[in-house]
């Protein structure tokens, strides 16, 4: 994966950082059938998402297939300052994985 799939908006608000995150991903559940062949489309979905800030985990999600297409998450964590990096790692059920970074505003 050359280009990241995660779109992140992280903003400091008081003593917290508010994070809104969207992953561009089809989240194929493995339960849909191909309309032409009638065969099941193999599952391809994000399985884990981990967000680190300053070397500490701030958010971990273990995803099932029923998370919507282009998964969206919003959460807040204590601390964080403008310009800080968020390190985000995702793993797909296919074993594909990548780490992306985003800045806190």
């Amino acid at each position: 994966m050359a280009k990241g799939i995660l779109k992140v908006k992280a903003k400091v608000s008081g003593d917290k950082t508010k994070v809104k995150l969207m992953a561009k991903h089809i989240m194929e559940s493995g339960q849909r059938k191909d309309k032409k062949t009638g065969e099941l489309i193999p599952a391809k979905f994000l399985q884990e998402l981990k967000i680190m800030h300053a070397g500490k985990e701030v958010f971990v999600a273990n995803l099932g297939t029923a998370v919507s297409k282009n998964p969206y998450f919003a959460f807040n964590f204590a601390g964080g300052a403008a310009g800080d990096d968020l390190t985000m790692t995702w793993i797909e059920n296919t074993g594909e994985t990548a780490t992306e970074t985003a800045k806190v505003k």
Partner: protein, 152 residues
Amino acid sequence: MSINRRSVIKAIAASGALVGASVLVPRIAMAAWTQSAFKAEDQETAMQELLGGTAEESAEVTLKAPDIAENGAVVPVTVRSSLANVESMSIFVEHNPNPLVVEFIIPAGTDADVSTRLRMGKTSKVTAVVKADGKLYSASKEVKVTIGGCGG
């Protein structure tokens, strides 16, 4: 099919039976993804596999979801809890093929307040389960779905 450390330990402890043997190195380093829970086809099994128990209803868990979801492919849901020491929050949709939708691990310092979007196959009860201080608390809400989001 892949396995991870937690499910391996669980599988050995439970039955000694191991299915699948592909070991993916990066996955071992990550938090465990509970295969048995995500694949479970009824809510009780999924809850048992993931959290090891059943939850009791609690007013300190808030589940915000629409009464009627016009499009089951995108159902916005917010889970909140005023409990202390929240460890994880999970969302179940009872009538989905695999009821466990997502599990959030909430490290110390992160608010027990997470929003996401789910898929719902049909009208169902949505349950949020919050693990706090090792105990399980839940809140549920019936969400009506007019167009299902599972299957094509």
